[in-house]
């Protein structure tokens, strides 16, 4: 019996995907903020890629300066609410909380952060102001966390910003790729709107920048370009049967799920390939969509999984089962998917090898590939002098400038696919470099 019933309407969907991080009430916020030791040279601040002054914002909560607390967060991180909800705090700020060193539960920094940002967001208290106009224009390709962070920082310096967004809605993977129980669509959009109504950057929707002509136009009209383009669709595995209708890429199915919710037609027996955090999300979400069985299949051992332990735990708690050391060989079925043929694997001489004759079959009616995304190679090819590394990641210098000095880049397209908070940090950092370059400060 599955853990979750198939959601048949919006309400049932919301129940199955109810938020795992609930907004604190004032009593809890006071108690939790009282716990913070106000460490010197605080490890949590160091662990945060955006270096939020965490002890300060927590102390501001404790003394009842809520707007000040939000300002502290946003001064370092333009997506403070988003990050409070979706950051893997267990391995970042909360993981480095000194309480952990004595076996005491860490201060709940993520939830306190959401508590702090809630007031300014919900009451639309403006805390930012645009900089004085400097007659410079920057194009940002991609309206995800990196692009939005970059745009905000540029606007603060008075630089005009146009964001070219390929989809009909911005916020990138924050809106389209994150599990709904981590953050709701409206929360993502609330923060995006909050930034836009103060910084007034333009977002040009449905404009996917790809061709030589697109690139030439941008280069002509703008003083600099920031590439916050993230990654492309799920890469092919190149195994037989992969082209069947019921075989999905993880990022694609998660995006559909976030948009269609209970209207999405979903499988009953789902197999997910992969061992990263996206695989865990896809598996968890499949279980919450009411699939009877969800099987996670990873070609290496449990210890080798890229996913954080708490993400795996979350998937397990939703009823997901896992197979380790198995690789898919073929996706079976005539018209529809009926199963997956696997082969067992082992490590020999430090290399992953399949074990001859160990093939076996698992039945299923849906397959999700969470085995990595491709890059936007067509765009890369059309930008002169832009260079990428072996893994297809854009090469940048320490100032997030690409080999083409007019182009800067940050986020997944540069780091290969890290956390939202890394994208936010890199977008802001790149903006500082752009500001320096354009205004010669």
């Amino acid at each position: 019996m599955a853990e979750f019933k198939r959601p048949t309407n919006e309400q049932e969907f919301e129940n199955n995907f109810s938020p795992i991080k609930v907004l604190m009430n004032k009593s809890e916020a006071i108690l939790e903020s009282s716990k913070c030791l106000f460490c010197y040279d605080a490890p949590c601040t160091k662990a945060c890629p955006t270096h939020i002054d965490i002890p300060l914002f927590i102390r501001q909560i404790n003394s009842g300066n809520m707007t000040g607390s939000a300002m502290t967060i946003y001064a370092s991180n333009y997506m403070g609410n988003l990050c409070g909800k979706v950051c893997p705090v267990e391995v970042l700020c909360e993981g480095s909380c000194v309480y952990v060193n004595q076996g005491v539960k860490a201060v709940e920094i993520g939830r306190l952060q959401n508590y702090a940002t809630h007031k300014v967001l919900s009451e639309k208290i403006h805390i930012f102001s645009e900089g004085e106009k400097v007659n410079k224009k920057v194009a940002i390709i991609g309206g995800g966390p990196a692009g939005l962070s970059c745009a905000s920082e540029l606007r603060k310096a008075g630089i005009e910003v146009d964001i070219y967004e390929g989809r009909k809605m911005a916020a990138g993977l924050a809106l389209h790729g994150i599990a709904p129980y981590k953050i709701a669509n409206e929360d993502v959009l609330e923060e995006l709107n909050y930034l836009q109504e103060q910084f007034h950057f333009n977002i040009i929707y449905n404009s996917f920048i790809k061709t030589k002509a697109d690139v030439a136009k941008l280069e002509k009209e703008y003083d600099a370009v920031f590439l916050g383009i993230g990654n492309s669709s799920t890469s092919a595995l190149n195994i037989p049967g992969e082209d069947k209708k019921e075989v999905y890429g993880a990022v694609e199915i998660i995006e559909e799920l976030r948009m269609k919710k209970s209207n999405l037609v979903y499988g009953n027996k789902v197999i997910v390939f992969g061992g990263g955090n996206t695989a865990m999300d896809a598996a968890s979400e499949s279980a919450r969509m009411g699939a009877e069985t969800v099987l996670l299949a990873y070609r290496r051992s449990k210890e080798n999984m890229g996913a954080y332990e708490f993400e795996y735990d979350l998937a397990k708690s939703a009823g997901v089962k896992a197979y380790f050391n198995v690789a898919p060989v073929e996706i079976l079925g005539d018209e529809k998917v009926t199963g997956v043929k696997f082969i067992k694997t082992e490590i020999k001489d430090g290399k992953l090898k399949t074990i001859a004759g160990s093939e076996f079959t698992e039945k299923c009616d849906m397959v999700i590939k969470a085995t990595g995304q491709s890059r936007h190679f067509e765009l890369f090819d059309n930008i002169s002098k832009l260079e990428v590394d072996d893994l297809g990641r854009i090469i940048v210098d320490e100032n997030f400038r690409t080999m083409n000095p007019k182009y800067f880049a940050g986020g997944d397209a540069v780091n290969g696919g890290k956390e939202v908070v890394n994208s936010v940090a890199e977008g802001k950092f790149a903006a500082s470099s752009i500001i320096k370059q354009l205004t010669k400060i």
Binding site: I30, L37, C39, N62, V98
Partner: protein, 453 residues
Amino acid sequence: MSAKSSKNKLASNLAGIKSPNPFWLASAPPTNSGYQIMKAFDAGWGGAVWKTMGVPVVNTSSRYGAVSYKGNRMSGFNNIELISDRTLADNLREIEEVKKYFPDNAVVGSLMVQSKEEWHQIIKDVENAGVDGIELNFGCPHGMCERGMGSAVGQDPEVLALITSWVMEVAKVPVIVKLSPNVSHIQDPAIAAKKGGANAVSLINTIQSIIGVDIDNFVPYPTVDGKSTNGGYCGPAVKPIALNMVKNVAKIPDYNLPISGIGGIENWRDAVEFILMGATNVQVCTAVMHYGFGIIREMVSGLEQYMSDKGFNSIDEMVGKALPNVQKWENLNLKYKIIAEIEESKCIGCQLCYIACEDGAHQAIKLSENGESRIPKIIEENCVGCNLCSLVCPVESCISMVRKDNGKEELTWTERTERGDIPTTFNDKMAGGLGHFVPEPKKAIEYRLSSKK
């Protein structure tokens, strides 16, 4: 009663007022009625001082305020409530009833009136009702003092002695004088109480206070229709002040009056501290207003356990036991030397000891130079043994203060003065801090000066 098994050991006797244990309820809202006091005795309280009876009063709506320190509610508490606003007849009738059900528990009548005649009359009234003792409220610092009572009496030793002597003219039961802490020298009213003939003193009453200010509406708490007034402060926050005052009274040479200790007591440990500082019993109010009468269970069991651990067979053996160790500063051993030691295996790396010492004390703790470890190090030659690091450290017994002198030498300021061995001029070479390392002022902004270049 619940304290039966240990009755003998915990038995208390304050100037002849006996109770099964030394825990009394102080005169306050929890002792406003016979109902409450019977409930308290049933729960295990040894005695109760009835909420002050006397001149008729009316009370305001909104009466209490509290300090909530980092989520800890009622760390400090204040009130602008007056004495009992119930009729004397009701109070007397209920005293009689309580004594009928609980003959072994102490019921003390707290009183506050003005004229000699009134004092004589009310003493007869409460004695007829069956009180085991009388407490004179010379401490209330709000509302009553403006009418020449409460702390107005407590602050004037001559008046205090006079009124006490009126009381002693007629009182047949033991009389306790409750002292106000709102004085510069607590010994003066304490001596006056003795002069007036009192059998015991109790202290401290509340400390005059403004508990906090409503910064949106520009008025202190508690607010009565947009206005406020000073109140009386009590609760855990006042305990150190109360302990010191109890000690000061207990140290009066040949004083010999028993002391009932009051001020922020909420568990057995607090009670033991008061007893060791010279109190014969203790009175509790705020903790009961916070948690109810049930806290007595923890207090009685804790005191019993402590006494058996330490081999005390009666409360009397403990009274004032720490007093000989309270000395004037000039009699402390200047040869005694401790320094801080960090147990690295326990350190969690918060670095609070570092910044506390660096910014708030003596710059005797350093961070690891390469930044590899978050565990700070003590600079032994700079450590003056002040304790600050061990006080701010959030880990139990991670930082300890270790003795470094040979333990054989003793030299006090008094002895040095006698020898003529003390610094006397402003720039004297014998000044204590001369050997201590202090960085140059400019070092504080070095990072800024260097980044400018």
